[in-house]
Each structure stands twice: as structure tokens, then as C-alpha cells.
């Protein structure tokens, strides 16, 4: 009796274990069918050309393919086209534009297997429609420069098209922003009333329509403000992606985002819109065994704009002293564990035009004190310097209120400047006041700490050219907030875009960086890094560090066995 009972019991146990194992593996397999990704923003529209925002471009990485894009090596590559047109392979031919400027005609041939999710092939008609809609002012597309300079399109056949631009720059073949739109679905809606198109587009009204999407995945469901669900696109002809379904969830509060990850409700956090660096570093110390962490330095450039109209800051010696007084290496090492590169100019070390031989200003508080003495600022009784007229060397340092990481950097800098006798007062404002008025109308009294995001080999014309200083007369356009005027810089910025040979551009780029480093209109701080957090079983995600999201290469994401 007892033996049999024992046998039954152990049989039961065995079955239970086997059942449990089976359940566990099927659960794991099931879980691997779906990938849940957390991001901190919800896209305000899913239409490809209206507005640009990071959450939208992340979702579009999975669901839409651009014609060209910058890849993880920061080179322009084809996605929907067969080969990249260049002057060398004769697909691009310089010509004179109707306005008399040097222009160029660039011919693209779409891939034969490119199709919308409902099986309709992507054709030149879709490009023409996107261009027509973008050109029409009533459609309300944000930046219109592309649609303006692209003055004519010649359709050669359903897959081949020649674009005529009325300017010739070294980026002539990058048309990352010209997104084909599904003319078979959208054209009629647009034609009915271009002004109402943005309120009627299927991308927002019926985003689950398969024909809107051209990537490895298509949108199947959206829950406003909360999540977007993607499934494999049956019409996709490229490599089959690993997951049947991808859910992108929005959790704006980063502490809650972390909790969702730890609770297993998220598999990964996208670095493009993820945790702030210090939070991710702290998480890595505790959860390195559960997740893989990747810190991708990128093109977001944190810096301090100096208002050169202020008498104290108009003196180059004072500006150099400001840089010599701060120990950026220590800030980066201590606050960010060295995961972000110190910036010495606006050109990222990963950029092909970065020149490491440009002179750098080291951390040198003694030198800073000497320079300030030379400039006539003597230490007063309270430790703060004064000039001959008795004015204190006191500057305002502003940034976006509520950005914790910037406020930390700000306070450290304040302490470092205090040590050489410069008083810095912190006055922060909400982002929309700061960017919408104080910085963009040059109302900051001293220094403004914020970031630029750029693209590979981005010519900083709007930031450094003397005609780009914002003013009432110019409708406050332009980003030369410092008020920097330098004739040679102006000339370099004009020559750079039209110099087609990369090797001929190199010396121009070097000179730009040199002027920037010696004239010091801006104090460079560091380049931000994105914290990507992946499950240990996922591999193949390659962040780019620039604006193109890693989701554009989702078909290379693989599940480790």
C-alpha cells in the first residue's frame, strides 16, 4: 500500500514537473513571439510627413521604409532604392536650375519587391503624391525646404524617377525626408480638401489599414496615449523579422518605466526614448544579470551659449577663462561614469569630419585666473572679481527647469566658476519659456545651457552664420543665439555645402572647428549618450547615435536560443 502510494505520488510529481516544464517552455516561446518595448513618448500623429518627433520615427522604423537613410556607420544608404545615385555612377547629373543656380538631377530606381502592406507595389506615383502634398502650403507640412528645392520630378517608369533640385550640395543624394505616401489610399482624401487632409488622413483615422505601411511590421492597433501594437507585414519581401508581434508602450515617468521593466511588463527600453543616463547607470549596477546595457554616444550636443552682446562676455579672454575654469572630464567621470564623450567642439568624435588635431582648451584654473587678471577683473573682498568700474563679474546661467541632469551639471559648474572668482546665478525656466522666448529672442543675460541635435556632417550654418542671428525683423528665425559674427566663418559655411569632394571639405571643416575653439562663442560640454536596455536573449539591435532609430533594422534583431 505504502509503496504503491509512493509510486503514485512520484508519478504525479513527475507528471507535474513535465507539465510544468512544458508550460514553462511554451510560455517562454509565447513570450518570445511578442516583444514589448517601453518608450517615454506617444506620437502625436502617425503621418510620415506632418511634424517630426522621436516617438513617431521610432514606430516608423518598424513600419515604413524611407528611400534613403543614414546607417549605423553614418553613411547614406538605400532602403527602398536599388542603388545610391552618385555623380560617379552617373545616376546624378549636375545641371543648371531655372533660377540660374547650379542644380542637380538625381535618378532613383525603386526596388522591385517594395510594396505596401496590402500588396500594392510602391511606385513613383507614391513619391510624386508625397511631393505634391508637401509642396501645397495648405497641407501644413513643417519644414518646406525639401519641397521647395525639389522643383521638378520626371517620372521615367513606375519604378524610376528623376528628381531635379535647384541647389547642389554634397548631400545631394540623401532624401531621407521624402517619404513615399500610399497614393492609392491617400490621394483622393488629400485632393478632396488639402486643408483638411491632416485631420482626415488614414494614418490617424484608420492606422490599422495594411496599405499604409511598408516595413517588416504594420500597425494593427493603437490605444491613444498608451500603446501601439505591430504585427508582421505579410507583404514584406525582405528577411522575416523574429517576432510575430511588437507592442510599443508609452510610460512617460522614467521611474515608472523602470518599474515596468523590472516587473516584466516590458522586455526592453528603447535608448532613443529611454531612461536618463544616471538612472540607467544605477539600474545597470543592480540588474546587469537580467538585462544587457548599451550606452550609445550620439549627436546630442550639450553646450552653453554665451551672449556675446554682454560687455563681460564680449572679451575673448573672459570666455577662455570660463572654459579653463571647468573640469569637464571630472563632470563626465563622476556624474556619468565616463559614458559620455567630453565635447571640445560641436563636431562629434564619431563624425567623419571630426578633427582631433584642433587645439583644445584644457582644465587650467590657474590659467583662468591669469586671463581674468589680464582682462581687468581683480578679486574683491568677497572672493568675486570686479573690474575697474567696480562691477562684479556676475553672470546668469539659465537652462530648462525640471531637467534634473542639467541642473546637476549647472550646480557643479557654478562651484567651479566660483573657485576662480566668477559668480554665477542660476535662473531656470520651463522649456517653452526658455526655448520659445528667452533663448530664441536672445533675452538671456549671460549663459544658456541646452542641447543641439544634428545629423552626420551637418553644416552649422543656422547656428554660426552672422545672418542667422535672430531678430524681430527676421521673424526670430535662425539659431545664432550667441550673436557670433566672424567673416571667415561665414565664408566657410557658405563654401562647405557646395564642395562636393569630401577630401576637399576636410580642410574647411578643420578651419571651422579651429575658429570655434579659439573664438569660443559657445562652451562645449559633452555629447549625450542613449541608454539602451535589452533582454539578455535579444541580439542584433544596432543603435546609430544619430536621428535614424535602431528600429529601421528590426529584421536583424534575433532571439538567442
Amino acid at each position: 500500500m505504502s509503496a504503491r502510494a509512493g509510486l503514485v505520488r512520484s508519478l504525479c510529481a513527475l507528471t507535474a514537473v513535465a507539465l510544468g516544464l512544458a508550460l514553462a517552455t511554451s510560455a517562454a516561446a509565447l513570450a518570445r513571439e511578442t516583444l514589448t518595448i517601453g518608450i517615454t513618448q506617444y506620437p502625436s500623429t502617425l503621418h510620415p510627413s506632418i511634424e517630426s518627433m522621436a516617438a513617431k520615427s521610432y514606430v516608423h522604423g518598424f513600419t515604413l521604409r524611407p528611400i534613403t537613410v543614414h546607417d549605423a556607420e553614418w553613411k547614406v544608404v538605400c532602403m527602398l532604392c536599388e542603388r545610391l545615385p552618385t555623380i560617379e555612377n552617373s545616376d546624378a547629373v549636375p545641371e543648371t536650375a531655372p533660377n540660374g543656380n547650379p542644380g542637380i538631377a538625381v535618378t532613383y530606381r525603386l526596388r522591385a519587391d517594395a510594396a505596401w502592406g496590402d500588396g500594392t507595389p510602391i511606385t513613383t506615383d507614391d513619391i510624386v503624391f508625397a511631393w505634391e502634398a508637401g509642396r501645397e502650403a495648405a497641407t501644413g507640412i513643417g519644414p518646406a525646404e525639401l519641397y521647395r528645392s525639389l522643383y521638378r520630378i520626371t517620372v521615367i517608369d513606375a519604378r524610376t524617377v528623376t528628381l531635379h533640385f535647384d541647389k547642389l550640395t554634397f548631400e545631394y543624394n540623401a532624401i531621407n525626408e521624402l517619404r513615399p505616401l500610399p497614393a492609392h489610399l491617400e490621394r483622393a482624401i488629400w485632393q478632396a480638401d488639402p486643408r483638411a487632409y491632416r485631420t482626415r488622413t488614414l494614418y490617424d483615422r484608420e492606422p490599422a489599414r495594411p496599405g499604409l505601411w511598408s516595413g517588416p511590421y504594420r500597425v494593427v492597433a493603437t490605444q491613444a496615449g498608451a500603446s501601439i501594437t505591430l504585427e508582421r507585414n505579410p507583404a514584406w519581401r525582405g528577411r522575416e523579422p523574429a517576432f510575430r508581434r511588437i507592442v510599443i508602450r508609452t510610460v512617460e515617468n522614467t521611474a515608472a518605466l523602470e518599474a515596468n521593466l523590472l516587473a516584466g511588463q516590458l522586455d526592453m527600453i528603447a535608448g532613443e526614448l529611454g531612461l536618463p543616463l544616471d538612472q540607467a547607470l544605477a539600474l545597470e549596477r543592480r540588474a546587469a544579470s537580467r538585462f544587457r546595457f548599451h550606452f550609445q554616444p550620439g549627436l546630442v550636443y550639450e553646450h552653453i551659449d554665451l551672449n556675446l552682446d554682454l560687455p563681460a562676455l564680449a572679451d575673448r579672454r573672459v570666455r577662455e577663462a570660463l572654459v579653463r575654469a571647468i573640469d569637464r572630464d571630472q563632470i563626465v567621470q563622476r556624474l556619468f561614469e565616463g559614458r559620455v564623450p567630453v565635447a571640445h567642439s560641436f563636431v562629434n568624435p564619431l563624425d567623419r569630419m571630426h578633427d582631433p588635431t584642433v587645439p583644445r582648451i584644457p582644465f587650467d584654473p590657474e590659467g583662468a585666473r591669469r586671463l581674468l587678471d589680464d582682462a581687468g577683473w581683480r578679486v574683491g573682498s568677497d572672493g568675486i572679481r570686479r573690474n575697474a568700474a567696480g562691477e562684479r563679474l556676475s553672470l546668469e546661467l539659465m537652462t530648462t527647469a525640471g531637467n534634473r541632469s542639467r541642473e546637476l551639471v549647472q550646480q557643479v559648474l557654478q562651484g567651479m566658476w566660483r573657485a576662480v572668482g566668477i559668480e554665477v546665478r542660476i535662473r531656470n525656466e520651463p522649456p517653452r519659456v526658455f526655448f520659445g522666448e528667452t533663448v530664441s529672442r536672445r533675452r538671456f543675460q549671460g549663459m544658456a545651457l541646452f542641447a543641439w541635435i544634428s545629423s552626420p556632417e551637418n553644416v552649422p550654418r543656422t547656428i554660426l552664420h552672422s545672418t542667422e542671428i535672430p531678430s524681430e525683423a527676421r521673424n526670430w528665425a535662425g539659431q545664432n543665439y550667441t550673436g557670433f559674427r566672424h567673416a571667415e566663418m561665414d565664408e566657410l559655411l557658405e563654401r562647405l555645402p557646395i564642395t562636393l569632394d569630401p577630401e576637399a571639405r576636410r580642410p574647411l571643416w578643420r578651419r571651422v572647428q579651429e575658429i570655434y575653439a579659439t573664438e569660443i562663442p559657445v562652451i562645449p560640454l559633452f555629447f549625450r549618450a542613449d541608454a539602451h536596455i535589452w533582454p539578455r536573449w535579444l541580439e542584433g539591435v544596432r543603435p546609430t547615435g544619430h536621428l535614424a532609430p535602431s528600429s529601421l533594422w528590426v529584421e536583424e534583431w534575433r532571439v538567442l536560443p
Partner: protein, 314 residues
């Protein structure tokens, strides 16, 4: 009574008109319209682009003219399109309102019932052991910032125990999913809300219990429960009702922090995003709704007060 309601309706209409203009003006006065912000974030935008977009969105016209245009179409029942959420404004609002009500109605009932109950218990013997405990609970609820309570509950129930989801609306519309996803945010709001009810009730009850008619009732041999509930509570109810009406009105326009931490797309988050994003149509519609709820709650509080205190009826 009817005259009072009629008068209040007229006042409410006037208030709503004034409020909608105040809100429109405030949003319009905020520095950094969408075009300013687009210029600051997108270097490709030129001066000409800015002018074109301003004209397209009507931002180049004077504030009053824009307000009148909005008011005219709002009166016609046309609330416009949400620039920020790419959907008609009333649809955007309806979704958020459903989420908010799903969270707020059970929460308000629970925190009111528990809070008032605790307050009555505490008032039975002021400075007794039970009173001390109720005070301790209430103080913890008052001093606890909503963010911290929310995140601690998430850590306990979602991360450590794994019993409940850490946030987000239910992925499928089943009752079980709704309940699981509502559990933590409503627990947070209930704990935060009941403190005020408990403290206010306790004070009002102690006050009422010291009145002479309570002694009379006791002397007549009414049971202690009857004295508490039939004699003291109606007299203590006036400040409690006032607080409850105010609280419900405030909650409708948003439990912003709790909604954000639990990634729960409700009215608080919507109003915040709409205002920061200059989405006039949504912000104003949400505001109108909040105003109507506030005015209704305030009227309800006054009517309940009248019903409770016959002397107020002239």
C-alpha cells in the same frame, strides 16, 4: 429651491463664458507658441516657413478674433480637431473622460466611505487609542507625496510580489483586466483622498457631539449608534459635503501625477499635454467640462446643505 437652481444656472452660464475667455487668453499669452518651439527645435525651419505655418494655424490673427471664432463654432457644437492627438477634440476628450471616471468614481466612493467612517470612529472617543490610529493613518496620507505612494505600491505589488500590473490601461477590454489595471492607481488615490475626509469628519463630529441637543438625545436614551448617525452626523455633514464637492471637482480636471506614474491616459494628463502643446481645442473643451463639473458640484453641495439645515431655507 427651483428659483435657486434657476439663478445658479444663469450664474453658471456667465461663469463658463468668462472662464473660457480667461483660459483662451492665458493659453494664448503663454510664451512659445507651437511655431516658436518648432523653430527652436528644428534648424531646417526658415523664417518663411514660420510665417506660413502661423498663417495656416491662424496664429497671426488677434487673440480676441480667434476666441470669438472658436466660441461661435463651439456654440454650434463643433469643437474642432486636436492638433496634438490627431483626432476630433470631442473624441480625444471622451476617451480620457471614460478612463478618468473609471478611476475616479470608485476612488471617490471608497475614500469618502472609508474616510468618513474612520472620522466617525475617531470622534467617538477623542484622544483615545482608535483616534490616535486614525490620526496616524490620516497624517501618513497627507504627508505622502502622490508620486512616492504610487511608486512604492508599484514596487511592492508589481515588482516584488508580481501580483498586479505596474501600469497602463488594460490591454483587452475584459472586466478582469480592467480591475487588475485599476487596482493600484485607485488604491493610491483612495489612500491619498481618505485622509482629508477622516480629519474633516472627525473635527466636525467632535464639534457636533458637544452640542446641547446631543446631550438631550442621550438623556432621552437614544442608542450611541443612533446618536452618532441620526443626530450628530447630519449636523457635521456641512463641512464634509463642502470638501467632497471640491475634491471631486478637482479630481475631474486631473490626478496628473497618479495618471502619469501609472501611464493611465486620463483627463489630468490630457489637460496638461493639451495646454503645454497649445492644443486649444482640446484644452478648452476639457476646461469647459471641468468648469461644468465644478459648478454642478458646488450647486449640489449648496443644495445638500439646504436639505440638511432647514433653518437656511427662508
Amino acid at each position: 429651491m427651483l428659483r435657486l437652481i434657476g439663478e445658479r444656472m444663469a450664474q453658471a452660464a456667465l461663469t463658463v463664458v468668462l472662464l473660457s475667455f480667461a483660459a483662451y487668453a492665458l493659453i494664448g499669452l503663454m510664451p512659445g507658441d507651437p511655431i516658436d518651439l518648432a523653430i527652436a527645435s528644428d534648424p531646417r525651419l526658415s523664417a518663411a516657413d514660420a510665417e506660413r505655418l502661423r498663417a495656416l494655424h491662424g496664429l497671426d490673427r488677434p487673440l480676441l478674433e480667434r476666441y470669438l471664432a472658436w466660441a461661435a463654432s463651439a456654440l454650434a457644437g463643433e469643437f474642432g480637431f486636436s492638433r496634438l492627438f490627431a483626432a476630433p477634440a470631442h473624441e480625444v476628450l471622451a476617451n480620457a473622460l471614460i478612463n478618468s471616471l473609471a478611476l475616479l468614481v470608485p476612488t471617490t466612493i471608497a475614500s469618502g466611505a472609508i474616510g468618513i467612517g474612520l472620522g466617525i470612529l475617531a470622534a467617538r472617543r477623542p484622544r483615545g487609542a482608535l483616534d490616535a490610529m486614525v490620526n496616524a493613518v490620516a497624517f501618513a496620507g497627507i504627508a505622502m507625496p502622490s508620486f512616492w505612494l504610487a511608486i512604492l505600491l508599484i514596487i511592492l505589488f508589481a515588482v516584488v510580489l508580481g501580483w498586479l500590473p505596474a501600469g497602463g490601461p488594460p490591454p483587452e477590454p475584459t472586466l478582469a483586466a480592467w480591475l487588475r489595471h485599476l487596482a493600484l492607481p485607485s488604491l493610491t488615490l483612495t489612500v491619498l483622498g481618505l485622509s482629508a475626509y477622516a480629519r474633516q469628519t472627525r473635527a466636525a463630529m467632535i464639534e457636533a457631539l458637544s452640542e446641547p441637543w446631543i446631550r438631550t438625545a442621550r438623556a432621552k436614551g437614544a442608542s450611541p449608534a443612533r446618536v452618532l448617525l441620526r443626530h450628530a452626523l447630519p449636523n457635521a455633514a456641512i463641512p464634509i459635503v463642502t470638501v467632497a464637492a471640491l475634491d471631486f471637482a478637482t479630481l475631474v480636471s486631473g490626478a496628473l501625477v497618479v495618471e502619469t506614474v501609472f501611464a493611465w491616459p486620463g483627463m489630468g494628463k490630457l489637460l496638461y499635454d493639451a495646454i503645454l502643446g497649445n492644443d486649444y481645442n482640446v484644452a478648452l473643451l476639457a476646461l469647459l467640462l471641468a468648469a461644468l463639473v465644478t459648478l454642478a458640484a458646488s450647486l449640489a453641495a449648496d443644495l445638500i446643505q439646504l436639505a440638511l439645515d432647514p433653518r437656511l431655507r427662508r
